[in-house]
Structure formats: structure tokens, C-alpha cells
Symmetry: D2
């Protein structure tokens, strides 16, 4: 099918490429033109504006944060201006407040809106192994399903209110950060007590905690792979802020979130803006006087 | 082989039974006599004191806490008195300080000491599916290995200092409690935001967090199985205290532990001493005004 | 002198009245007209818009939050439109980001900007006993000093960058909330341990902690004066959010802030949006199973 | 009156000297003899054991921790052995559990027991400006009052159960540590935001927080007086542990205590065992990447 794609970062570029591979016709737009040109060579058509990308009738957005999404949706050459009665599939990790607002604006404009954020790092995006979490009108999800099938290994439908998908995505990222923090604290205790951290985490992530997140992140912690960042600490902080905003909006205390937020701030303050969020483990070690 | 077994609670009774099934000769001792008599019917020999159980040459202890273990080891009819040059295999979840002290006392007395705590709830003990984490002299672990094989699905050796095994066990329990707390916070946010908790946790524990702990405890949280307790909240609090003592001894800050400790205190204060530690999720819900 | 005054809530109305009493000519503006009319009877002149109030040459704003201040400054009849080369004295508790932005906008427009938030509850405002914390160009503070003298008992100058005053105000409110939380935790421990809370807090706030904040808030806690709110919990939460934003902007972890934030969320979730922030103490008691 | 005094550290020596100055006859005992000899020159009589000191009929203990107090009370030459029907005035900062146990042991032995911990650093002890917090039987407090009058500026009676005084003392120390942590966080935010910390804390501790604790500790924080320790961080950690034990015993969550505990652990881990607890502020700064 014909689809617009806005936002060609490390995630978006891989996703747009997979849409092309699956036979879809893709109109790409990106703020910096070089990435769009690269995809043009793979068969994409380059759109002159977000509005022109949206004129395809279905448009996917995959951008860094709330401000970027809002910037691309509004304005005279924005998505709302070009979409007509079409469908906006918002796959970025954004806040629930913005997601609710976009839903209302699309409804007012006669267009349609789905939230469909994804789980997976760039390698999973390239391998079309993402998990897609979709929420919105059933018919709209059905319409987008062929696209999701080209991008991920599985789609989860979590309700008809689009921001429900954003909540699930934010909770997932919260749980990942909580797992990193937890392993970091346990590894620090072990190290200071003279216990081999690799043996301990190996034992635990090979049995009780034998899941992708624990296996992946225990390896990253033990190998101290802080740079270059696969997912930079400030992006984790952004997610922590979005979780906090959602929690504040509904009046839900989340004390582990407070710990994560402070750890990320310490990590960035001590190590710089460019480290991977896994460096939370380094900040935990430093707090205990190690290194 | 001939082995003494001291402590026949829900874990210990199942373990002693498995030793019998595997063909070992077991001398059992328990503070209240009824449980020892039950195992006698399965072929165990009933010892008149911990010392008499220890006279088997190898003795396993599986007791509720530091005080119980200390009480059974010391005194005129205690394990130290009866063990001679034999081997004490301490499988209880105890603190590192006591474990280090027992190691020193055994050495002074000419006897031997292993720490070999286990992961698994009573059902896993009954099914001989425990994970055994052993630390101590290699030759002593070799000697005990046939017993571990009868009790668990796998043994992990984590060093020669016995208390290393206690650290690993305590870190594991810390990580379990952190996982419960994390899921409780995420589920509370979801519930207040109108998102189906079961769908969300099902999605996350079926993919990124697809591990025994997350699957088991997300089910318990969603089903609100607070009573009768499989593992009572005060036992979790005891473990949290032992982790805290170990962390304090080596000067390691653990902020998530602080969150867990307070959540367990709130849980017990609000719900009583008899709830399962999974009721941490109930206290999280109440803190957000739910129920 | 001639001065505009925008924002006639319980703080602002009392402040504007004091300016009149001190002999200044005051042009008042308020979103709902009734409050402006009341001051008209005391000799104020009613302005038709914020711009008209600003045309006095000096204009004070005293509003509830960032959005209210921003709304009153911008737009065709906003303060920027009417101020010319005049001076905007921003006395509301707002975030540092907005304060920095207002400073830049005023500079670009050829007008001048001071931040001068105040400490004190409505009774202190009525008694002209506020503490004023001012930051900005020295000459501008000198110009506004006669107004500050009419409003407060003392003015503190904390630098030339206006947002420095907002930082001081936010830190002060953070410290007040930390004091409430601390006393709430201590009182809860005392109550559960069978110690008379009033005797304990009386002893401590009469000696080591003998300061206005501790005396005032220990009384409010002990008397359980939760309603009507002198300062509503959601306003405290707003301040906690502004502190958090400032901390996030400069990468400063603040773990006590996390505790405060969660306590306020629990307070509001359990007790409603209308309780005083002192009800943090009630939420602390409930978390310990009291009441 | 005749009184025994056990424990001549920096606090105890100053207190015993004040008893002598006030005309009381004092029998001193200390583990290391030199300090007792010094007081002998001021007119004290040196006792050969805690029992001999207790034989005076009233004995004050002023020791570092629970273990030291327990060690001096028990045994063949301990206080219980020598006190007869006399009165033990326990002025050390100890835990509520030990205090309750001592009360029971004294009752069983036919002797009497008061808890009367004090607030004040060594300089206040030397100036007889301590605050005494006493709990126990009214008649016993009356009997000890002349001694308290020689030691402090004021005595507060907080109930008939001795451990009530220990709770008040522990809550006071908790509140002091919370004030240090709070000021440390605020000062760190200010410093990173380019605001003068001294101006800010000066403003706040000169107005809203104008109390001895805030004035004293803000000065110590700003002057970075970390060594030599007036009150060493590990002693603060001991107090935090005692507060935690009391809170755990009565099931009272105290999240700010968790923050304090972790900050003290980080402080000691990073700076060593010999720093003043005011170095919590240094650890806060480091966590934010300062220095």
C-alpha cells in the first residue's frame, strides 16, 4: 500500500526500509535531507513536506520526542494539513497527554489517529523483529496491520483509546530501567562483598530472570558498554519524565521511578550526555566508592 | 549417603523427603516433633537433638532465620557439639555476617561448613526443581553434590568463601522483590490511566520480560492472591533487612531496597502479618487511592 | 508611584491593597472582574486589560502558575504589548525556564524584567510581612524597592539573573515540603511506638528546630488542619514539579524531592484535590496503617 | 549527691566534669584508664569497675552504642551486679529494643532504670547546655533531676516508659539528618543553576528556617567542614540504623530515612570512615557531578 513515513533516525530509517522490502510504496520525509535521499535509492519517493507525505492517505511518524512530533503535525505544511480523511500512525515514544491531544485534533479535522509505539532497539528494527503495541479504532488498526506485519514480529492491541498504547510503552520502558537499576545495585553489592558479579548475574539471568531484557542488559552492564550509546541516557531521562507526567496526571505514586530519575541525572551529570543508559550501573558503582 | 536434616518447615520437609526418595539415609530433627514423625513413616530416622542429627557426618540445616540457625548450631546438643570433623551444609536464607561467623566457628572446631541456599518455592522443593547456590571448599561441595542432585535441578558454585552464596541468594531475593514492586507500580499506573492491567502485563511478560519470576508474579499480582501466603510479607521484610545489613557492612547504597523496605512495612501495617509478599501490589494500589 | 497589578487571588488582592495603603496609585486587572471591583472601592483604578495595567510603566504579576503568567504576558492585549520601556516585576512562583524566557522576551522588546517571588501565606501578605526575593538588574530592583517595602518586611537580592530568585523560591518551598514530610514520618513513628506526638514535636520545635516553618507546620500537623486548604496539595505538587524541572535542566539528583512528589500524589489520590499540603502527614499515617 | 559515671568520651568527660563542678561526688569508670585519671585530678573518685561505679546508688552511662552499653551493664562486674536497689540513668543514644530490655532486666533485679538521652554536641555538653529528654517513673526522674540540672539547660519529660525517650532522641537525630540532606540537595541545585549557595541558605536560615540546627548545619555545609569530624558519619549511620530498627519494629515506613541511609553509605564509601556526617553534602554534590 501507499504510505508516508516521517522521521528517519536509526529506528525510522530501518523501519521505512522494511516497508519498501515488503512491497509498500513509501513517501519519506526527514528534517535533514540526506537520510531521505538514501532511502530514495532504495525505491522510496521523497516528499517535500510532512503534509506531502501524509497525502499518501496513511502516514507513520517515528520521531525523537513530543516536540518533534508536535512540530511535524501542526503548521501549514504539517500532517494535519495534508492528511485529509487519512490515517496517522504515531509510532514514536511520546507522552499520553500529547497522544490524547493528537487524537482530539485528528477527530476535529476529520482524519484518523492510531498510537502504535514499538519495543526493540535499532537491530530489532532492522530485522523486522519489533513488538508493536497498537491502540485506537479496530478498523484503523486493521488497516495498518499490513504495515505492522512488515515492521515487527507481533502486534498487541491494547484498547481503543490511542494513549493506552503509549501507557504500555512507557510502562515497558519504566520496567526496563527498573531492571537495569536493580541489577546495578545487586552487582555493586556483590562486587563490594567480593562476589564475582558475572557469576552471580549469569546464575540469576540464566534461571529465575531468564528473559531478553535481563540477558541483554546484564551483558551490557558486565561488559561496561557505555559508549557509543545504543540508547542514550538523556533519552531514558526523557522517558522517565513522560512516565512521571502520566503518573502525575492520574495521581499515581511511583517510588522506583524516583530512584531511576535520580540515577539517570547522576549518570548524565557525572559521565556526560552521550553515554548509554546502561551507564546507570556505572553511577551506581561510583556511589558506592568503586572505580 | 548418611545425612542429618534439621528444620522441617514447608521447604525442609519436602527436601528431606526427596533425599529419602533418592536413597539417602536421613536423620531428621525438628523443634516440633510431629513433622519429624511424619518423615519417620517415609523411612527417616528421628534424631533426639541437632547434635545427634549432625553425628551422621553431614548435616543440612533449613531454618527460618538467623536466630533459628544460631540456636540449632550452638549449645551442648547443638550441631557444633555433634559434628566432629563432619560437614555442615547451611541451606537457609541467612545473613552474611552469621554465615561468616559460622565458617569461623566450624574451622575453629575442626569441622567443615558450606553455604548452599536455594531458589524456589515449596512446590519447586517438592518437585526437586530447586536451584542450589553453593560456596565453600571445592572438596566439600563435591561431597555434598549427591545431596544437591537429589534436591534441585542445578547447582551453581559461586566461590570458596561460604558467605558468597548467601550474597547471591540475598541479591536474588532483592531482585524478585524489585520485580514485584516494579510491576505493582506499572500496573497501578495502568489501572488509573484506564489501561487493562492484564493485557499490559501479559504483553510485557510474554515478550521482553518472559522469565519465570515475571510470569509467576504478574499472575499472582493480577489474581490478587494475597492469602494464604506462599511466602509471607514478614519473611520478605526479613530478607530485605539481611540485604540491608550486607549492604551496610560493605558501604553500598541501594535505593531500590529502601523502596522495597518501606513498601513491605506499609503492606504489613495495612494488611497484617499474614499476607503474601505479593500484597506489596495491594499497598501500591492503596497508595494511589485505589480500592 | 504608579503601578499595574495583575492577579488578585488571595495573595495578590492583599498585596495590591497594601500598595494602595502605602500611597501608590494602582491599576488592577484580574480575569474575574469581581475582585478588581472590590479593590476599586479601596481606590484602585481598574484596567481593561493586562496591557493597560502595564501601561503604568511598572507592572506586578501575581498568578497561580506558569500558564497563567504566560497567558497574561503574551497576546495583543498582554503585558509585553503595553509595557513599552517599562518594568515587569514577576512575583508569582514560576519555573526557571519560563523566567529565563520572559527575561529574553522583555529584552528583545525593549522592556525590563525582574523576578521577585515572595515567601509567606495570605495572612503574611495581608500584614505586609512577606519576604521578597529579588533578582535582576540592580537599577531595576532599586526602582521596585518602594513597592517591595510596601509588601514585605524584608527584601533579599540574590543576583542579576532573574531566574536566580525563582530558584531560591523553589528551593525554599522544597525545604518546607521536606520539613513537613520529615515531621510526618517522625510523628508517625512516635505514634506507633506509643510516644505522645505533641510532646515530641513540641520538644523538638521548641529547641533545635525552633523556627517559623517548624513551629507553624508542626501545629498544623498535630491539629490535623487539612481543610479548608491554606495552600492546597496540588499547588505543592506544582511546586515539586517546578523544582524537578529545574533539577532536571541542570542535571541535579534530588532524592528527597522524589519522596515528596510521591507523598503528594498519594495525598491527593487518597484525600482529594482540595486538601492542604499538610495532609502529607495524613498520608504518612495511613501508609503506616494508622486511622 | 553521690553518683557513678561510666563512659568518658568527648561527651561523657564534659558531663562528668560538670557534675563535679555542681558539687556532686562522682565515681568515674572508663574502659581506657587515662580519661578517668584526668577527672580524678578534678576531684572524681576512680571506680575499679562499672559495678563499683554503680554502687554509688545512682549511675549514669554515656557510651557509644548498644554493644558498649550492654557490655557495661552485664557480667559479674557490670552495673546490674553492683547497683542493688539503685538507679541506672542511661543517657547514651541507644535503640528502643535494648532500652526496653534494660528496663525489664532492672525490674527483675530490683533496681531502677531511666532513659535520659541528650541533644547537643560536645561544646554544648561542656557548657552544660544540653537538652535532656527523660522517660521513666516520675519519682526516678525527680531523683535524677539535680544531675540533669548540672548537665543541661532544660529537661523534657516524655512519659513513663523509658524507651519513649529513646524514640524522641532517635526522631530528633533523624530530623537533623533530614535537614542536612535537604539543605545539601537545595544547595546542589542552586550551585548547578549558578545561584550563590551562601546567599540562598543565608536567606532561608535567617528567616523561615531560623533555628539552631539549620543555622549550624548550613554553616558547616557552606564551609565544607568535613574533617576532623565533630560527629562522624558512621555514628550517623548507626543512628539511622537504630531509627530503622524502631520503625521496622512498629511497622512504620519512613522513606526519607531510606534516602539518608543511602546518602550516608555513599558518603562513607567515597570519603572514608572519618568524615563528619555533614559530608553528606559533599556526596550530594558529587552525585550531581560537582567537584
Amino acid at each position: 500500500m501507499e504510505v508516508g513515513f516521517v522521521g528517519l533516525g536509526s529506528m525510522g530509517a530501518a523501519m521505512a526500509a522494511n516497508l519498501l522490502k515488503a512491497g509498500h510504496r513509501v513517501r519519506v520525509w526527514n528534517r535533514s535531507i540526506a537520510k531521505a535521499e538514501a532511502l530514495e535509492r532504495d525505491g522510496a519517493r521523497r516528499a517535500g513536506s510532512p503534509a506531502e507525505a501524509a497525502a499518501a492517505g496513511v502516514v507513520i511518524t517515528m520521531l525523537a520526542d513530543d516536540a518533534a512530533v508536535s512540530g511535524i503535525v501542526h503548521g501549514t505544511d504539517g500532517i494535519l494539513a495534508g492528511l485529509g480523511g487519512g490515517l496517522h500512525v504515531s509510532m514514536s515514544t511520546i507522552g499520553t497527554e500529547l497522544s490524547d491531544r493528537l487524537a482530539a485534533e485528528h477527530q476535529a479535522a476529520g482524519s484518523r489517529y492510531l498510537a502504535a509505539p514499538v519495543f526493540g532497539r535499532p537491530a530489532a528494527a532492522a530485522a523486522a523483529k519489533l513488538f508493536v503495541v497498537a491502540a485506537g479504532r479496530e478498523a484503523d488498526i486493521d488497516a495498518a496491520q499490513p504495515l505492522f506485519d512488515a515492521l515487527g514480529q507481533r502486534t498487541f492491541r491494547v484498547g481503543t483509546r490511542p494513549s493506552a498504547a503509549n501507557i504500555v510503552k512507557l510502562c515497558g520502558n519504566f520496567m526496563i530501567m527498573a531492571a537495569i537499576e536493580t541489577m546495578a545495585e545487586a552487582a555493586t553489592l556483590a562486587a563490594k562483598a567480593g562476589v564475582d558479579e558475572r557469576e552471580m548475574l549469569g546464575m540469576l539471568t540464566g534461571t529465575l530472570f531468564d528473559s531478553p531484557i535481563y540477558r541483554t542488559y546484564s551483558e551490557l552492564i558486565l561488559d561496561e558498554r557505555y559508549r557509543p550509546a545504543g540508547f542514550a541516557a538523556p533519552l531514558g531521562l526523557k522517558d522517565a519524565r513522560l512516565v512521571g507526567q502520566a503518573a502525575e496526571a492520574v495521581r499515581a505514586p511511583m517510588p522506583v521511578l524516583g530512584v531511576i530519575r535520580d540515577r539517570l541525572l547522576a549518570t548524565i551529570a557525572q559521565e556526560g550526555e552521550d553515554v548509554d543508559w546502561v551507564a546507570m550501573a556505572l553511577a551506581a558503582r561510583r556511589s558506592a566508592g568503586l572505580k
